[in-house]
């Protein structure tokens, strides 16, 4: 089996209130100079050897990400 790691982030320009709240909390803890904070999610998939990235892309388009508001990156790990 091989693995694919899918990282999903809100598109630039889509308001990310969770990221904003995290940024404020870091500021409250005394961490200075932190710029924009954005929160996303990581999904790891165990897939049969030889699976193409295009199959994972298809999974992203159909279910894992919502292309209207989210961008995704795929990392294939053999």
């Amino acid at each position: 089996m091989m693995h694919a790691v899918v990282t999903i982030m809100l598109k630039k320009g889509v308001l990310d209130p969770q990221g904003k709240a995290i940024g404020h909390a870091l500021e409250g803890l005394g961490f200075e100079g932190v710029g924009e904070v954005r929160q996303g999610k990581v999904i790891t998939l165990e897939i049969p050897d030889g699976t193409g990235e295009s199959t994972v892309r298809d999974m992203c388009e159909k279910l894992l990400a919502n292309p209207v508001i989210e961008d995704y990156e795929i990392e294939m790990r053999t």
């Binding site: 889509v14 308001l15 209130p17 969770q18 709240a21 159909k62 279910l63 894992l64 919502n66 209207v68 508001i69």
Partner: protein, 252 residues
């Protein structure tokens, strides 16, 4: 298929008797985590006089409904994205197929999220701007009174309907928004008691105060607020009745 309990309906103070024939058949789809199906069934029965059919998501036979309802709740625990799992469940293929053939579909709250996830309706529903789950009364201004859903309301009328959601912040980019506006596909906007749609009347940060939208043909309505919880006098008010009366009148 399972049936609703008889007792609660008999105790309802029905000052308005249903005035339509029992012709409109409604099917309410129930997913694991759905929790508003009975409110919806009571509202529809109150107006139509006919019990809607509750259809468990594992069933493949929808019957021949005039109206399909995707009710509110937390289907599949809101995993991945609200409504995403339900949108890809087997019964949904049947719903999409029926919707394409013109069967009317109403999605409320989680049901609206499902309609967005199936892409029967455009845009996206994000976390509320406040990051808080909001449960309170809102005022909605009807933006298009020329549809089967809103014919009893009329453009500009205001109804008072509760919202209860964490992810109801409707997002549409400029292109989608222009399309919705030019095609009169915005059903409801959040407003104040006088019908003004300022940002203070926007509970969740939705683009252009949008609370509900139609598909191109106006055969599908998705909305975050719960009209089924504004149909009895002890529900704060019953201004949601007109929505159901319009649907029943149009489809009976």
């Amino acid at each position: 298929m399972f049936t609703l309990p008889e007792a609660p309906l008999k105790r309802l103070p029905c000052e308005r008797r249903s005035c339509y024939s029992k012709n409109m058949k409604a099917s309410i789809i129930v997913f694991p985590g759905t929790n508003r199906e009975k409110d919806m069934a009571m509202a529809l029965e109150r107006v139509s006089g006919r019990k809607p059919q509750l259809v468990w998501h594992k069933e493949t036979d929808l019957g021949a409904p005039d109206l399909i309802v995707l009710p509110g709740g937390f289907s599949y625990g809101d995993y991945l994205r609200c409504g995403a799992m339900a949108a890809h469940s087997p019964i949904m293929r049947e719903v999409i197929d029926r919707a394409a053939k013109g069967t009317r579909v109403l999605g409320v709250c989680n049901g609206f999220q499902m309609l967005i996830e199936t892409r029967l309706l455009p845009g996206a529903l994000l976390r509320n701007k406040t990051l808080k789950f909001i449960c309170r009364q809102t005022n909605l201004r009807c933006e298009n009174g020329e549809t089967e859903f809103t014919r009893k309301l009329g453009k500009g009328s205001v109804i008072r309907v509760p919202v209860a959601h964490g992810e109801g912040n409707y997002f549409a980019n400029g292109e989608i928004l222009r399309e919705l506006e030019s095609e009169q596909r915005i059903a409801f906007r959040y407003c104040d008691e006088r019908g003004e749609t300022g940002s203070s009347a926007n509970p969740n940060g939705s683009t252009a105060n949008i609370a509900g939208i139609f598909n191109k043909r106006k055969t599908i309505l998705g909305m975050m607020p719960h009209p089924e919880n504004a149909v009895l006098t002890h529900h704060d008010n019953d201004s949601g009745l007109k929505l159901f009366e319009g649907i029943v009148e149009a489809l009976a």
